[in-house]
Amino acid sequence: MSFSWARPYEPKHPAMRWIDERLPLPRLVYGAIGGGYPVPRNLNYWWNFGVLAGIFLTIQIVTGIVLAMHFTASTDGAFNSVNQMLMRDVNAGWLLRYAHMNGASFFFLVTYIHIFRGLYYGSYKAPRELVWMLGLVIYLLMMATGFMGYVLPWGQMSYWGAQVITGFFSAFPLVGEPIRIWLLGGYAPDQAALTRFFSLHYLLPFVIAAVVILHIWALHIPGSSNPTGVDVKDEKDTLPFHPFYTAKDGWFAGAVLLFYALVTYFAPDYLGHPDNYIPANPLATPAHIVPEWYFWPFYAILRSFTVDFILPAKLWGVLAMFFSILLLFFLSWIDKSPVRSGSYRPVFKRFFWLLVIDVIILGYIGGAPINAWRVAVGQIAAAYYFLHFLVILPLVSAFETPLPLPNSITESVLHGEAAEAAPAGQKRPRRGSVATAG
């Protein structure tokens, strides 16, 4: 699709030719994930996580459809249908439920790695801005789906999570409270909210699948990025997706699925919360409400605002939380450095890892019970998050001197990236010692 040397589809079987002439679906698949898609030959393991996200989306849809066959979407029946019927009575129900529960966590885990890979290697830069933005749309849809799914078992955390998260809307003056009541179909989470969350939780994964197709489509116009960030120049720089990357993705998926199976079988509740095994009680709040781990960094940003400043603290918190994701949509224009890969940007690279540490700190703060010093740490970490994107990144991209880029992907593969990064004429450093060669 993207390069002139991409192999055209040549049906081997007459039946495939018959189909291809009438509906070129085999051609589409061949060009998208088959031998007809040329991929840079130097992709490292960080490039495996997109395919992994697709695998976990599939696992979630398959297990979810089956779970829906046993789920009762009523405030009286939901808790029992999950914790009694599915977990004890339905054949293999416990396995499917735990697979779905932990599948969500793994879906987010691989997606976060995928996002940070994009941040490090500048995958959001031209000409892949829309790939990045569609990815963010997928991420937002995942958050909505994950949140609504967590409400369905109708335990204490389900209920109070729904209460707190829909409460975000009440932060907006005038329209906020009517919107909250409209979203919930009542004054507090109840039957109406549970049923609509179930309906949307079933719908949204298919919307995600549709946006995933757009995401891949947009990706295949320029083709995949690569660890050097240097554009593909000719056929020597690429390999056909199949069999090279299908094989690599396949083996790596096996390794990750093994890890997923370990968690699902031996620590299925490790990422959950014991309070959700208590049926929802609208009159008593659990002492410590936390969302699922994948929301913790944003929850920490939400809780960081404790003082009114023109607007109420609560509204600041909600705005900051939404803005922390929305600003990522503008990343392609915030970071104007023409060099994509962080490997050739010594200053950017350091700040990237600071950001990773910052988000991990935010995650810890968001998941831990609140106290004075944690609020202070959370405030610093939240401030740094915005500082990184709004101040540091534009400044770094303006003032940084990047390392010399390799002439081509092939050259970097044949000589090693470290050697390519050294100035011409200098003694070739050992592989992986870019910093000292500087």
Binding site: Y187, I289, P312
Partner: protein, 191 residues
């Protein structure tokens, strides 16, 4: 047999009417507008079905017997599926609430504004923290009432005083006072 005007129109060059609007433009705008209005009208039921349904609204008022609540005690009742705190304040708690200067408050209200005339000891508020909707502690016997003797929200540490007013923590407003009236000396109708 086409006239000159018709053939000109067919080739897309006709300018009819003194206002410069062709008949075809008018038909286009009218048809698309009509379809647009129709589409918007069709969206209306899809939107209003999300609002609270009649059975939810039917539970919009509830009667509470307060005869057995001694001073210093309180009860939690359910109204519109939300908890409501009905608390019989002690004279000391009333004095504490009245002693606070309004300038110290985030959401400036006196105890008198939050209770009914002559019944300043009956503090009736929603048991819904105005931060993010958790149920504060402090209505039950022995629960943590926080440093201001009213309510303490365990979720994010909002602290309310004996008039249910926000004193410290992230909540922006005092605990909301629902519409209610005393239907007799010992019953209250909320809603």
């Amino acid at each position: 047999m086409a006239t000159k005007a018709q053939s000109a129109e067919r080739s897309g060059t006709a300018v009819a009417g003194s206002d410069g609007v062709r008949r075809r433009d008018f038909l286009n705008v009218a048809a698309v507008s009509f379809a647009g209005v129709g589409t918007l009208a069709a969206l209306a039921p899809l939107i209003v079905q999300m609002s609270p349904s009649a059975d939810v609204l039917a539970l919009a008022s509830t009667e509470v017997d307060i005869s057995k609540i001694q001073p210093g005690q309180g009860i939690k009742v359910s109204w519109r599926k939300q908890p409501v705190f009905v608390r019989n304040l002690t004279p000391k708690e009333i004095a504490e609430a009245n002693a606070v200067p309004l300038s110290d408050l985030r959401d400036k209200q006196t105890l008198a504004e939050r209770t009914k005339p002559g019944r300043a000891n009956w503090l009736i508020t929603l048991g819904v923290c105005t931060h993010l909707g958790c149920v504060p502690l402090g209505i039950g016997e022995g629960e943590n009432r926080g440093p201001y003797g009213g309510y303490f929200c365990p979720c994010h540490g909002s602290m309310y005083d004996t008039a249910g007013r926000i004193r410290q923590g992230p909540a922006p407003l005092n605990l909301q006072v629902p519409d209610y009236k005393f239907t007799s000396a010992t019953t209250v109708e909320i809603g």
